[in-house]
Amino acid sequence: MAQKLIVIGAGMASGRMLEHLFEQGGDWDVTLFNAEPRGTYNRIMLSPVLSGEKTYEQIETHNAQWYDDQGVTTRFGEKVVAIDRAAKTVTAENGDVLPYDKLVIATGSNPFIIPLPGHDLEGVIAYRDLEDTYRMMELGKTEGSSAVVIGGGLLGLEAAAGLHAQGVDTTVVHIMGHLMERQLDESAGYLLRKELVGRGIKVLCATNSKQILGENGKVTGLELDNGTVLPCDLLVMAVGIRPNVALAKEAGLATGRAIHVDATMQTSDPDILALGECVELDGMLFGLVAPIYDQAKVAAKTLVGEAAGYVHRDVSTKLKVTGCDLFSAGDFAEGEDREDIVFRDPARGVYKRIVLKDNKILGAVMYGDTADGNWFFGMMKDGTDVSDIRDTLIFGPAFQGGASGDPLAAVAALPDDAEICGCNGICKSTIVNAVKNGAHTLADVRATTKASASCGTCTGLVEQVMAVTLGDDFVIPAAQSICGCSDHTHEDIRRLIKAKALKSEAAVWQELGWKTANGCHVCRPAVNYYLLADWPLEYQDNLQSRFVNERRHANIQKDGTYSVVPRMWGGMTTPDELRAIADASEKYGAKLHVTGGQRIDLLGVKKEDLTAIWDDLNAAGMVSGHAYSKGLRTVKTCVGKEFCRFGTQDSSGLGIQLEKKLWGSWTPHKVKLGVSGCPRNCAEATCKDIGVVCVDSGYQIGVAGAAGMDVKETERLIDAKTEAEAIEWIAAFMQLYRENAKYLDRPYKWVAKVGLDWVKDTLSNAEERAALNERFEISQSVYRKDPWADHVKNHSEQYQPLADITLEAAE
């Protein structure tokens, strides 16, 4: 018979433990309680959610669906209020009493709230869960709001950076003399502070708080010891955590600072295990995921009666604030028997310090350039004697001569048990084995080993291990900078524009350290696109940062004339439109060509005539076809069920609806659609960026096709039942592409990078789909209009010469 297992808390510890448990098999009847009204998510990634770099959906690890699939009974939003060890039952908040054979306590910890006067006012929060995160994000929506964060440690600074990224005026109040004193020494703390202050975050160190001020029960400010008052709308306390032990204590389990467990994760009751932040083992407490994931592995084994023991290992820390690169590991307090090696590069804001004892690394702190962090950390954990390389140690592995200067060779030389992914405790051999068993992409390696799937800072290292294992079959996606003007990659720039709320080209150049005054022809169009895609209402599209075709809304020809392609919705046209095109062709001496996109190209129009020909075409009801844009091009349709004896749906009608919804939108590269009325596929929908094939039961939506320099069939995204559903999915796909892809990646290239599974997962979430549609519509409120009409009205002089001084010359 299945054993009854009750788990209290669906946090990072128990999520991982259950995953291991189900991998091992066995017959379990699991009930999972969680005080938070949701399943398991990657709590450590709340900061990227706060700063706007990620969405909640992207950090879910085990949601209700996942638990459902494993047959777990989930009681989310419900607390366990009592454990009766004699009866072997737990009591739920609503009074239900449930029997268990085995019980796992994984209740994590509670944020510590300093009992300052006023700490119970509305608007005093901690930083622990999604509610706190949303609360802070909400604040950013009110212009001119301000927040105070008490606590300049890891959490406090991530909260402050996130609040700042949301546009909130933020002050950090820290009691110690420098920031993150537990992880950083003074110098590194100074550099970190300088960076944050430079961004506009106020930082007060060595500062005590006296009381929290409020009005009508709501927080209004923080009064400091010296009498200063910092007004604020929200006060975040991030001063530490207290293991959540009340339940265990009341049940009579052995507790100290936390629930006592042995190395098998068993509590003082043999049928009760505990793990995560709520336990104490050999006098140690845990507040980082790496050891907690180890515990999860052990607990899962203990449950099935396999021998396993938790072994403590050192952990290193990184601050997840984009742009603040710091690394810290081990012990770096000064001492007589210790030696310091320090390296500073003030110009680059780099600081590195290694603390040695008996020629072994005891601790390492680095700021500004942390690439070698894992190398030092590895030697620290292994207790490597560094006497031979002591002189050049601080310069990292690249300076150690010989093969190790090549990062790949250095990775190749790592022993099998070298740790690659700290969060998940994944060693090199695990990754190598996964690769040998067929995991040939980063996504596969993540899925099979979890390496780089938590905080992601080891991604580069994982890729290097893959490259070493696969040889020429794996090309490390080069972190190629956008162009010579910047060292940032396209991906970084996209992220930073969102995270730092950069809303103008000048802000990007300044904040991201452009090396040229105002970019070049490579980066400017990309940056202009990223800005308008991310801030459709705030950013003003800059025509001077667009390639000629998009600036002139026409395609330049080899002789400097232009071609003009009016839109023909879904490839349908009328005698009136054809007459207007014929007239324009004669009037402006344009040649006509029927394009491959079901419309007509007027070729060879002089620049000076562009606004006039557009005006004529506008008068006949025609608008720009955007045949020149990185945006929506054509929606090719077949005649469909209205005319064709095989047609199953109104393909041209759907095509026109799609074109009317999507036209005018700018995208990372051009986007073409096709809608075919049946699988005979006369509109060639299966090689478009987005293609719909109508069938009796609905609409098969494929994406990521290509028929240009590459030819590729689309891949199925979803089978939609109704037109409305098809349109909703397609618009959501467009917006996801608009928000995430690198400039000049067609959808098929982008999807190959992020994986169709990710796209499908994201879009399968109805809320996310709705949110994408909403953001798309916000952007379309600006861009769904005819640029030709706009230029005729507002920019026509730009199409004429500034002056003509040839005539006077003939006098």
Partner: protein, 108 residues
């Protein structure tokens, strides 16, 4: 030199360009910043691309057809290309082009 008023600086968008028709052909007036402008030959020596349609960055312009880059100050371009430059000055926001250099016999 014979200065001819060809328009106002603000007739050209920042980092944009417009042409002036002259006896020696089209000259591109390129506004490289709020306060600066240059006059260069409009025709790219590579395949006659209209330089005034290029992207302006720093004191350079990129040809719209195949991305040759030219200095606005010297006319020097990538791959050894060279375009002519013409004297231009700005007075009270007015753009004054040297008539003599573009084939005008006398000032207007």
């Amino acid at each position: 030199m014979s200065w001819i008023d060809i328009g106002h600086l603000n007739d050209i968008p920042v980092r944009g360009s417009r042409v002036v028709k002259t006896p020696v052909g089209c000259v591109a007036i390129v506004r490289s910043s709020e306060t600066e402008a240059y006059a260069i030959g409009n025709t790219c020596p590579h395949k006659q691309g209209p330089l005034s349609e290029g992207i302006v960055h720093g004191k350079k312009i990129t040809c719209p057809l195949h991305n040759a880059v030219f200095s606005l100050e010297t006319g020097e371009g990538t791959d050894g290309h060279q375009i002519p430059t013409f004297p231009l000055k700005i007075e009270g926001g007015r753009l004054l082009l040297d008539g003599a250099s573009v084939g005008k016999r006398s000032a207007a």
